[in-house]
């Protein structure tokens, strides 16, 4: 068991961030740093560092590259033992790099995906040590597990 490590919690804007904020009780008692796409979110996580990366989606290759470099920089600076994300693209990239750097990873697919997993979720699941969906119907062997939701 690794003890005393840090958690990096990653979410892009809007619903992904709101869902991450609802997971905060799970992080109490651990050192946490956050990573998102709007500097204004710092106000919602007093006492914690908030790193801001470029927001992107799969439509823009250059945008994804910029986000990826930003995420990698944050991971090298923070050296988290656990990376947790509620999506979307920045979280998927964070899990991909975190896994390579030896961190444990958690992916919580957005509650907005009630019928199919998100695209980033399907990819990120492969890099997740704990892969969760918020809809019991989407739980599957070799896929995500259901264990409650942000509601």
């Amino acid at each position: 068991m690794r003890t005393g490590g840090k958690v990096l919690a990653v979410a892009s804007g809007g619903g992904h961030w709101v869902q991450l904020m609802r997971l905060r009780p799970a992080l109490e008692g651990y050192e946490v740093a956050y990573c998102s796409v709007h500097p204004e979110y710092a106000e919602q996580v007093p006492g914690c560092r908030l790193h801001v990366v470029h927001d992107s989606n799969a439509k823009s290759k250059w945008g994804v590259l910029r986000t990826a470099l930003g995420i990698l920089w944050v991971l090298l600076k923070e050296r988290p033992a656990v990376v947790l994300s509620t999506g979307a693209a920045p979280g998927g990239l964070a899990l991909f790099f975190a896994k390579k750097l030896g961190a444990k990873t958690i992916w919580i697919d957005s509650i907005a995906n009630a019928e199919v997993l998100s695209l980033s979720g399907q990819k990120a699941g492969r890099y997740a040590d704990l892969w969760l969906t918020q809809w019991p119907e989407l739980a599957a062997d070799g896929g995500p597990e259901y264990s409650g939701s942000v509601l």
């Binding site: 958690v7 656990v82 947790l84 907005a112 019928e115 704990l130 409650g148 942000v150 509601l151």
Partner: protein, 165 residues
Amino acid sequence: MILVTVGTQGPFDRLVRAVDAWAAAHPEQRLVAQIGATDFQPAAMESAANLDPIRFERLLREADCIVAHAGMGTILKALELGKPVLIMPRRAALGEQRNEHQLATAERFARLGVVQVAADEHELPAKLDVLVQQGNVERISNSASPELIGRLRGFLGEHLGPPQG
């Protein structure tokens, strides 16, 4: 005040036009709308393409009710604040988003009965008439379900040791 929001994934004129038409017929109501980058200029409500998160949060708190696209961020914030909310899903078939997940979200939340849903712009005016009559709804807690929190704490405990403090 009624807060109208289309979120940050681009304009949603079908919603904004329908609400603006309703607003024109209800001059006694004050509406503030966040409409994304669009050429459409609402005639009967205050509007801005985007609002910074702090101003947006303040408007959410001030609003009597909320009309929005079926985005999870707005739905969760509205429920946390106990505000009545009416959602209308963006449709991928109309180029309003990348897949039909808002349709699924709207259906699930309609079934849960915690939000009002207008399937499209034709249903919206009548649903808005009902929404403005509705008082505040019960607030949800600002935490995820105990089951999810417990699962995450179990995982963190296993890999980081017990929490401090």
